[in-house]
Amino acid sequence: MATMRDIKGRIRSVTTTKKTTKAMNLVSSAKMARARGKLNAASPYFSLVRRAISDILKTDAKLIEHPAFEGFRTIKKTLVVVIANDRGLCGGYNANITKLAANLAVQLSDEGKEVAFITIGNKARDFMRRSGANIVKSYFGISESPSMEDAREIVEEIVEQYENGDYDEVYVCHTQFVSAISYIPTALRLLPMSAEDFKDEDDRKIDIMKFEPSTEEVLSYAIPKYLGTAMFECMITSAASGQGATMTAMDSATENAENIISDLTLMLNRVRQAAITQEISEIVGGANALS
């Protein structure tokens, strides 16, 4: 039987843990709010860039002779970008996203493609390395609060490699933000682009559209912008859902700590009661023996 001292010690330690998880819960909920704010501020830009591309595609189907669109080469080498958190303590978040990436890799290599990975976030790197993936580059320190510049830099490098023929296909594994407690791990095919990707926009009619300096130049300006935007969107929704996952995990950790504390307090009271009872019976026994 545990002594009162042991139990008191455990209660103290669990209380400290609870304070920590509570604080982490508050911090991540603030960070999530910030990421959501960024997401909301950027979403008009996202949808308008998509719409602009969609409009360009509507004007003239022949335009899709840009190399960023599909149908120009057979796909042999695939690059998968995996976005996860820098840190753990977020429930199954990192595991869910890397599992999706690993399944995608299996599927791709079954199709006879070579697969390489770029990881964003320490945990993405750790998990993917453990599953024996071929990681060509890792970024960290940007998952939590991604900026448009980060996204552009990453995409520029990827586009260059795509143009050089290092890769024929690029996927981005990220999570869509649904709510603080819910996210959907998703694999988005960034390259090659498909005209189908832009079909779901509203059915606006574009009769004639002029392009200056030329259609090619507008398209080769707009496509990298779109890719940077798409990457940024992936990173920012991942950041928001990653913080959401941390928040939920820390919330349930705090709740667990509370349960443990109440169990321990109950146990402490029992032990104290038992000790008192024993003391009384000893005194009574001693008194009886004397009389």
């Binding site: 830009y45 574009i206 559209m209 002029k210 300006y221």
Partner: protein, 143 residues
């Protein structure tokens, strides 16, 4: 503008925010090929923007926005400007822009080893646009 012109919707959107969303009379902006003025009923046009000042006329007011790269889609009913960065005059730190100009000029003059010429030139142009917009309307802009 003697007679009342028809207004159209102007939206200037960046990844960080929606900088402008209002009905205006006219927009003048800097494309890679030179300045372009847009009135209501302009033919649909998509064009790449340079680094420069965008001016829009709303009744008698002239508002100025610094645009640092982007493209614009002029549609039948609205003009959408998708900019990398859009700044109103009151958002610009004049001192910082001036220092940026000095830095860029110095780099271009020194021609240091491994100088990213394009990048320095770009920084210089951005700082100049930022300062130009602070200086207030040019006389040629008066109606």
């Amino acid at each position: 503008m003697a007679e009342k012109s028809k207004k159209f919707r102007l939206r200037i959107v960046t990844p960080a925010k929606t900088a402008v969303d209002k009905n205006v009379d006219m927009v003048i902006m800097q494309t890679v090929d030179g300045q372009i003025g847009v009135l209501s009923g302009h033919e649909p046009l998509t064009t790449v923007l340079g680094i420069g000042t965008l001016r829009y006329y709303d009744d008698e007011k002239i508002e100025r926005v610094a645009l640092l790269g982007g493209f614009t889609e002029i549609g039948q009913t609205e003009v959408v400007v998708l900019a990398d960065i859009a700044e109103h005059p009151d958002e610009i730190d004049a001192e910082r822009a001036r220092r940026a100009e000095e830095r860029a000029r110095k780099r271009l003059k020194d021609k240091a080893e491994g100088l990213d010429y394009l990048r320095a030139e770009l920084a210089l142009r951005k700082s100049l646009v930022r300062q130009e917009i602070m200086a207030g309307p040019l006389t040629s802009e008066k109606k």
